[in-house]
């Protein structure tokens, strides 16, 4: 028994030494020789941004090489999840920058009082209509327009609709794929789009009429677009930039964005500097970088438009027509009314 205990002790001691030395080793490995040793920032971004195919990894690499500041990119779900995460960490903050708060969610971000104003110099090259926050708590880094994509093999040119109203025509019965605003941000974008075009008094009539024409109202963009590429219906709600993917990776122009005379609702993705950040200078440099040097990478990887007007886009973007009229709504109006709109919408659509 005595011997056994001793053996046990020896093993424990050995393990402890191993553990400590490995910790030391790990510490030593992370050390950076330059003066930037302490310069590390943590960036929360939505999942698609951080994926291999998203703009995140390559941007971080270029930024690190350029500035010597290390960036810890944390894939953190979607905009709502990021806000909940940052909120719940208020007493023990981790992140310095949050990437990907869309304009729909802006009011929730302001309300939570998480972000600090930062008037980056890069804003001078960014059109005013994209700068949704006068106080610069949120800064735009890319944007897109909601639009319907048409399958040109299933719908002839003269049959392509030219306005939201035309889409309610009986000839589009079961030909449109919509997305539920209760479960998807793209779906929510469509709901807001109809309110921007038809106003509070008219939007429900449009949805009422669309009930017949919608083949289905999917729970998310992925299902809807999957049904579309499977040929279930020739029209799907997406972005004006969606064809860029098909042109770039599939070399086909079969799927094209349709421009409507009503104008197109805009979704603007923003970056924000957290007021709890302990490394604001480095964080600001990262934000500047996003708004300038990283713009092309963001636009192509995200299939969105760059905000910086000096960015030169590749030819595939010719298939992402820019609407003449970009529509948007005050963040506060969304915050105030969204719940009521969703309830009214559900009532009409479930009748």
């Amino acid at each position: 028994m005595e011997v056994l205990m001793n053996k046990h002790r020896n093993v424990c001691a050995f393990l402890a030494i191993l553990l400590v030395s490995s910790l030391l080793f790990a510490q030593g490995k992370q050390e950076v020789p330059a003066s930037k040793a302490n310069q590390e920032i943590t960036v929360y971004a939505y999942d698609a941004f951080c994926g291999d195919w998203g703009p995140g990894p390559s941007i971080v690499e270029t930024f690190e090489a350029k500035t010597g500041i290390r960036v810890k990119l944390v894939s953190s779900g979607d905009a709502i999840e990021m806000l909940i995460k940052v909120k719940s960490e208020k007493n023990n903050p981790i992140a310095d920058v949050v990437v990907g708060i869309s304009d729909d969610m802006a009011a929730k971000a302001y309300e939570a009082n998480l972000f600090e104003p930062y008037a980056s110099e890069a804003l001078e090259s960014i059109p005013a209509f994209l700068q949704i926050d006068g106080q610069h708590r949120l800064l735009p880094f890319d944007y897109g327009n909601f639009a319907f994509i048409v399958d040109t093999e299933k719908l002839s040119k003269e049959d392509v609709p030219t306005s939201l109203m035309e889409l309610t025509d009986p000839k589009y019965k079961n030909k449109v794929l919509l997305i539920d605003p209760r479960t998807s941000s793209v779906g929510l974008g469509m709901l807001l789009w109809t309110i921007e075009v038809f106003g509070e008094e008219g939007y429900l009539a449009w949805w009422q009429a669309m009930k017949e024409n919608a083949l289905t109202i999917a729970e998310g963009w992925s299902s809807a677009y999957g049904l579309f590429t499977e040929g279930e219906a020739p029209l799907v709600l997406s972005y004006t930039t969606s064809p860029v993917y098909h042109v770039t990776y599939e070399e086909t122009t079969r799927y094209q964005a349709v421009l409507f005379t009503d104008g197109h609702s805009t979704t603007i993705e923003n970056v924000g500097l957290l007021s709890s950040s302990k490394n604001k200078e480095a964080a600001k440099l990262f934000i500047d970088f996003l708004l300038t040097d990283a713009q092309l990478e963001i636009a192509t990887a995200n299939s969105m438009y760059p905000v910086n007007s000096q960015t030169i886009l590749p030819p595939a973007f010719d298939w992402a027509p820019k609407p003449e009229k970009s529509l948007s709504m005050e963040a506060s109006a969304i915050e105030k009314n969204l719940d009521r709109w969703l309830t009214e919408w559900t009532k009409v659509m479930s009748r």
Partner: protein, 564 residues
Amino acid sequence: MNIHESGTSKGFYKAMPIPGAAVLIVLFLVPLFFTLSTAFLTEEGFSVSRILETFTSSYTIRILLFTLFQAALSTLASLMVALPGAYLLANYSFKGKRLIKALSTVPFVIPSILVVLGFVIFFGNNGFLNQFLMKIFNLSTPPIQILYTFKAIILAHTFFNFPIIMNLVSSYWEHMDLHCEMAAWTLGAKKSKTFRTITLPRLLPSIISSASLVFLFCYNSFAIILVLGGGPQYTTMEVEIYRLARMSMDTGGAAALSLLSIIITSLLLIWYNKSQKVLARTESYTLSSKRLEKRPTSTLGRLLALLYTLSSLLFILGPIISIVLRSFMASSTRSATEIFSLKWYRQLFALERGTGHMGSALEALNNSISIAALVAILTIPVALALATAIRKKGFASSTLELFGMLPMTVSSVIIGLGYFIISNRIRGGVGVGYTLVVLAHMVIAIPFALRTILPEYRKIPVSYMQSSLTLGASPMRTFFLIEVPLLKGALLTGGIFAFALSMGEINATLTLSNSAIVTLPIVMYRLIGSYNFQGACALGTILILVSTIVFVVSELAKGDSNGR
């Protein structure tokens, strides 16, 4: 009874449920408590007003009724498809039998979005079935327009769930001895009457047990109901909870609604458990598997077996094969038409540079398999230990059983919010992330394993254990030499379900590992999110393959134990 009671009340049996209970408490009950408590917190402090408002609103009641209705109907439809299959599988041996059984775990591992796509590719207006029929009969419009209606919801739920019932009922049936039926036949009862009055009542514990699982699955269904049902006219509690929690950021409202859901489903569970205990006590255990050697004798019998095999294969295989076929298609040239290609598989196994997320597919495959294997290996003993405590009568064991089943009744959105609380409290490296993910998967798998093990466990006569204990064996010896071997089949089935559930899980993995761990379903979602549906189908095919292999292997292991 005295000996048994004194034996089981020894430390060994008492300590058994502790690990399972600990996992459930730390990873499920505590975060659930925090999330649900927000239902009572309003701006004025503690208040029940929100709860009352939610529980009495006519809108809530309407969607609650619809949710219950569609779940009940789906369960009924699954039963109708599953029971003939269970009869065939339990009583006859025929070609294709193993295949049917093996395929039954497949729906678990495919994320629901891919099931939806599989359905669309197969049953859709532009799907294989319609194109085939249109060509044969020279039609201009698709003849089968079943998608985007209420019928499609039931159809898809049946596809997803009938294998669970078929599998659980048939494995229970296999182990039921034939004495009562034989006696009835000798006494002159007709086969149909014997079945109605003797066999069916004896099967009830397993039927109720599996049907309760299916009901809860359908109750919490989400993507299938919205996409295949055709839209918001079919709204379930889960959709509403999602909307409140995620779109309106109204955690309190979502918690209140979720609480209502939990209360309703728990009441159902309590009723199930009660009936289950009474029923199972009357059943006895047998090791004989003579009945399996039979082959269909009459021509009619053979024809029916063949017909059932074919139609169920078509039904399960249709959407699955659609996914597999899609994965072999790619448009690599300038033309838009897709041709046969191994592109996605070459990328998957890193034979060529992966496009986008395909690059992390191999790592994801490794992660998925190792996590799922670990989950299966850990879930079996933990669930078995819980089952030893639950098997007995009494208030404490009923409470424990309900507690073990609870994870199934809670909306995944609410569980997700709970995980958020954990992941923010516990911080650590990837190692901690892995541990949390494995534990969370166990929480999801335990109800299943319990549902597989319990009906079998309750069949083991107490006298077996009594004899062993009287003869001087220790409780531990009795447990490992008598109970465990008798339960081998159920344990393997439970393990497979745990494996399959873990392979398909996505929410807990994302949240608890802070997205640091990629698994196959996660990569699939990312692929779909970046327009690569074929790549996602390739990963889906791998998932299908892995789960089929695991199933066949364990079926073989089970076969050995029965001396087949």
